[in-house]
Point group: C2
Chain length 125, copies 2
DNA sequence: TTAATATATGAACAACAATTCATATGTTCA
DNA sequence: TGAACATATGAATTGTTGTTCATATATTAA
């Protein structure tokens, strides 16, 4: 049996927030993944959440490419692409190999295409 | 046969950007999803790319919840949660039903858990 | 109707992030 | 060695976004 709002208000430990379904809150709290996992997950999706980076990843689905090729493809400066590639590499989404002056980038993980496709399935439903 | 760098530089139509593998760039350009699709995809991932919103979605995997319950669960203000729920609803990730004063939120789409799980698979590999 | 309460929302603020610009690094070739 | 070039990077700038604060809206109960 749920408590009345008055009872809940009386036993409420939060300073400003009232809470109606204390029991549900406690149940959900126990099942939530830990703080760090959820933070890391948000960080991962944040990397996908920029159209320049999405375009780069999408291009790399098709072919390994060097920095200046990607810049040409996306009609952006070499510097902008290089900065974004660093973000992608830091987050282990791309890897690179150096041949002389040229640095070739490619995807670093098979999960990436799956994440991408799930997102695509959502927006094209 | 690839052109020499000098030949490429001579025929390069970009003002500042040099491009080494023109053929690859053209091939990839043809296969890239259109601009708008990639923009929408980035927008979707952007919604997942905030730890508050990820926590809300994750909570709603377990149970339908009202605004003040979510605020209590995450130890945040009602206003902050309400603002984020609006973002989630605008992007069709949650839906709500109103019972008197109370508004209950729940997930609006089956894809969401798949996207979430693919992300989780990546960070926990 | 009035008080209490659950939620929504606009404006302001602060933190963050993407691009640009200038320049540094490292490699090749003459 | 020096010139050309592909890439990387730090700083500055500009645009974006999450939270807070104050307040509005809407519903219930007295």
């Amino acid at each position: 049996m749920l408590k009345s709002h008055e009872e809940l208000a009386a036993t409420n430990e939060c300073c400003e927030i009232t809470c109606i379904h204390q029991n549900i809150v406690e149940e959900v709290r126990e099942k939530l993944p830990d703080e760090e996992t959820l933070y890391d997950l948000a960080e991962l999706f944040k990397v996908f959440g920029d159209s320049t980076r999405i375009k780069i990843l999408c291009a790399l689905f098709e072919s390994e490419m060097c920095v200046c090729d990607i810049a040409t493809l996306l009609n952006m400066t070499q510097s902008a692409i290089s900065h974004q590639l660093r973000v992608l590499k830091t987050n282990k989404l791309v890897k690179n190999r150096k041949v002389g002056k040229v640095v070739y980038y490619s995807l670093d993980d098979a999960h990436i295409k799956h994440i991408f496709d799930q997102g695509l399935a959502h927006i094209t439903e």
